[in-house]
Symmetry: C2
Subunit: 178 residues, 2 copies
Amino acid sequence: MPWPKDHKRATRERIVEAASRAFRKRGITEVSVGDVMERAGLTHGGFYAHFDSKDALLAEAVAHAGAQARERTAKASDLLTLATMYLSEEHLRDSEGSCPIAALGPELSRSDPHVRRALAAEIRTRLAGLRELAGNERHVAGVLACMVGGLIIARALSPSDAKLFLQECRAFLEEKLA
Amino acid sequence: MPWPKDHKRATRERIVEAASRAFRKRGITEVSVGDVMERAGLTHGGFYAHFDSKDALLAEAVAHAGAQARERTAKASDLLTLATMYLSEEHLRDSEGSCPIAALGPELSRSDPHVRRALAAEIRTRLAGLRELAGNERHVAGVLACMVGGLIIARALSPSDAKLFLQECRAFLEEKLA
DNA sequence: TGTACATCAGTGAACGCGCGTTCACTGATGTAC
DNA sequence: TGTACATCAGTGAACGCGCGTTCACTGATGTAC
C-alpha cells in the first residue's frame, strides 16, 4: 500500500464535508462537482474515484449534515430547550452548518430515490430524538414541523423580520409545551 | 392593432400559470424556459417578448402561486380550519397547485433579490390573513411555521408515513388552538 | 542506509449535452380603401 | 363586400457557457532488496 492506510477515506470524508456545507449554503444544482472538489482542495477529475455520481455524494452529504445538525441541539434535555436552540438566530445565520431538512427539504424530496431515502431516514431519526424528550407532548411531529417551517420562513425574510418571526415561533411553542 | 387587444396579456398569463405549476412540481432549476413555453403551447424563442429573464418570470410565478394557494383555504372561518385544510392529503398530493412557500421556499430564499422580495411579500400577506382569523392565538407565526414545515416534511416521507405525519401536525395544532 | 520499483490517489484535457438568451424571420391578424 | 397592406406575436436556428462524466496520465508514496 503506497499510501497511508486511511488516506483515501480521509479524502472522501473531506469531500462529503465540503459538499454538505456547500449544498446547504447554495443549493444542490447551484453547486457543481467541480465546486465541491475545489472546496475540498482537489481537482474535479478525481471525484469519480470516490463516488458513482453527484447524487451518490448528495445522499451521503444529507446524512452527514443531519448528524451535524443533531449535534447542535444534543445538549438539550427537554423539547422546548431543543426547539429554542433550533429556532435561534445563530442557527438562522449558519446556513452552511444548518439543518438539511430546512436548507434543502423540498429539493431533496424531488431528488432520486437514494437521496429521498436518506432524507426520510434523517427525519425518522430526528423524530425518535424528539420522542425521547417529549414529556407530556404527544405530537412531536408538530414540534418538528414548527421548527423546520419556522427556520425556512425566517430565512425568506429581512433580518429584522426574521428575528421577530423566530421569536414568535419560540413563544408559540413555549405556550404549547409549558 | 392587428391582434385582439388582450391577446398578448392572455398569452403572458398562460406562461405565468404554466411556470408557476411546473416550478412547484419539479423545482426551479429542473424546469427550463423551453419546458415552460412548451407547457404554455408556445416555442422557447418567444419567451423574451414577454419577460426580461427567467428570474423575472419566477418572481411573477411566485406571486401567482401564492394567490392560488390562498384560495385553497379562503373559505376557512377560523385558524384551525385553515390549518387543517392546508395540512390535508389533498394539498400534499397536489404539488403543482400547492403553496409555493412549501414547494420552493429554501430555493426562493437563495434566488435573486426580486424573487426573494416576492416570497417575503407573499409571507407577509399570508400572516395578515392568519391574523384576521387568529381569535385567542397571539402567535400566528408559529401556526404558519407548523403548516409549512408539516407539508414539507410529509412530502419527504412515504405515503403512509406522510399521512400519519399530517395527522399528528393537525392534532398538535388542534390542542394548541382549541 | 540507499535505491529501484510497483501502486494508485489525484490531475487536467476532453466528451456530449442542455441551458438561458438573441435575433432575423414568418405569417395571422385588424385596418384602410 | 373584397383586397392590399402594415403590424407584431410567435418561430426556430444559433450563440457561448458550464454542467456531469470519462479517461489517459503523472507523480508522491511505502515496500523490497
